[in-house]
């Protein structure tokens, strides 16, 4: 094995990521999380950007966390619920205004139906499902993001999958082994 130079050794040490680096690496995933939890791309943009803005404002503290991206995901997931409520009222109001900007839903019908059912789940169950399937995260990481016990995540995931399987009439065979 070739001895590692001092320079390469320094590079190999995990450094605290800059905000820009985290943004570049994580924005896409957080945006997708916001999208499936809110059901609206414009709302998703708002949610994701608010979450990153929150991180940016507190970057001195957030950057010291073990996983700043997990903090951003948590902020995004937690804010999605209130935003959904706000957006429902907003949509009703805006629908009455001529000339409103319509953003078509481009999700295929199956995918749209799946996430619609996910959004009907209890809040925590929906968040767990979104994190589990979107980012393929293990239970431990989901628990860290949502700041709850791994057992709680397992219960949420189990119940959510059972509900979704019933709603979507899907086969549950071989589902939870990656926990």
């Amino acid at each position: 094995m070739v001895p590692m130079s001092d320079e390469r050794r320094v590079e190999a040490i995990p450094a605290v990521r800059s905000f820009e680096t985290m943004y570049r690496q994580e924005f896409s995933a957080v945006l997708a999380l916001a999208y499936v939890l809110s059901g609206s791309r414009s709302a998703a943009e708002e949610l994701a950007q608010e979450a990153f803005l929150a991180a940016h404002r507190r970057w001195d503290a957030v950057s010291q966390y073990d996983d700043p991206a997990a903090w951003v995901r948590r902020v995004c997931a937690n804010r999605s619920t209130s935003l959904i409520r706000r957006r429902v009222s907003e949509a009703k109001a805006l629908a009455r205004l001529a000339g409103r900007r319509v953003v078509p839903d481009e999700l295929p019908p199956d995918a749209a139906a799946f996430w619609t059912h996910v959004r009907k789940l209890p809040k925590r169950q929906g968040q767990v499902v979104a994190l589990h399937y979107l980012d393929d995260l293990p239970v431990a990481e989901i628990a860290a993001i949502l700041q709850c016990a791994e057992g709680t995540v397992k219960v949420h995931l189990h119940r959510a999958r059972a509900t979704l399987a019933a709603e979507l009439r899907c086969d549950l065979t071989g589902g939870e082994e990656d926990e």
């Binding site: 905000f19 820009e20 943004y23 570049r24 924005f27 896409s28 945006l31 997708a32 999208y35 499936v36 609206s40 791309r41 414009s42 709302a43 998703a44 943009e45 708002e46 950007q49 990153f52 803005l53 940016h56 706000r86 957006r87 009222s89 907003e90 109001a93 805006l94 009455r96 205004l97 001529a98 000339g99 409103r100 900007r101 481009e106 999700l107 295929p108 199956d110 995918a111 799946f114 996430w115 499902v129 399937y133 979107l134 999958r161 979704l164 399987a165 979507l168 009439r169 899907c170 086969d171 549950l172 065979t173 071989g174 589902g175």
Partner: protein
């Protein structure tokens, strides 16, 4: 419907990611909080110069600013991409795109600009976020060009509504109006305010409260009479 739940979930996840992929900005655009007021000040100074130069050419005609109910479906159009293209009266290349009429701030992170655009001097309102990481949170609404040459709807209120920015009602108001009030659909009236006086007429741009719908704008004349413009 016979697909395994996990397969279906992962397909749905992939579809969701693909659906928002085009919204991903690869570069954040952090802006120095200290630099922002300076930039806005300089921008305002530049706009004033542009306005003066435009007005000195005499190339303006207020009678061409018009709208009508039949055309309102086409009123809202997404603004051109990028923050520079939405500058009040300034195009992507930094050149003037119209006559700046007024500008201001909405809340703590949005700025707006009212301007007359194009050869027909359509009235436009642009709203844009000044927040870090929100370069695309912007929207512009312009009055449609007059269809029949009639100026009867020249004072009809226009509305900018876009989920990305605060909603506004804006428009032109006759020169004899001293103050105006926006009436909402629930009957409440917003606080009176003076219109913005410009060399080409009086205008207004009023931010609407969340989830509110404008019904009318009432112009209050100095002699105590009023005029009402329905949305």
């Amino acid at each position: 419907m016979n697909a395994d739940l996990d397969n279906r979930a992962r397909d749905a996840a992939a579809a969701a990611k693909a659906s928002v992929a085009h919204l991903v900005h690869t570069e954040p655009r952090p802006v120095s909080r200290r630099a922002r007021p300076v930039a806005l000040l300089l921008g305002g100074l530049a706009l004033t110069i542009v306005a003066v130069l435009n007005l000195q050419t005499g190339d303006h005609n207020v009678t061409k600013v018009a709208t009508g109910p039949a055309q309102r479906d086409t009123m809202v159009s997404p603004g051109p991409p990028g923050p520079s293209s939405l500058g009040p009266g300034v195009g992507p290349d930094g050149g003037p795109i119209g006559i700046p009429l007024s500008s201001g701030f909405a809340g703590d992170r949005f700025r707006w600009a009212l301007y007359a655009e194009g050869p027909s001097r359509n009235l436009c309102l642009a709203v844009q976020s000044t927040a870090v990481l929100e370069p695309d949170r912007a929207a512009t609404t312009c009055s449609p060009p007059p269809s029949d040459g009639s100026a009867k709807d020249v004072n009809r209120p226009l509305v900018l509504t876009d989920g990305r920015v605060p909603s506004f009602v804006f428009g032109r108001i006759p020169a004899d109006v001293a103050e105006l009030t926006v009436v909402l659909s629930d009957g409440t009236a917003l606080a009176r305010q003076a219109p913005v006086q410009t060399p080409i007429g009086q205008f207004y741009a009023v931010e609407l409260p969340d989830r509110s719908i404008p019904r009318a704008v009432i112009g209050h004349r100095k002699d105590g009479t009023s005029v009402r413009y329905e949305y």
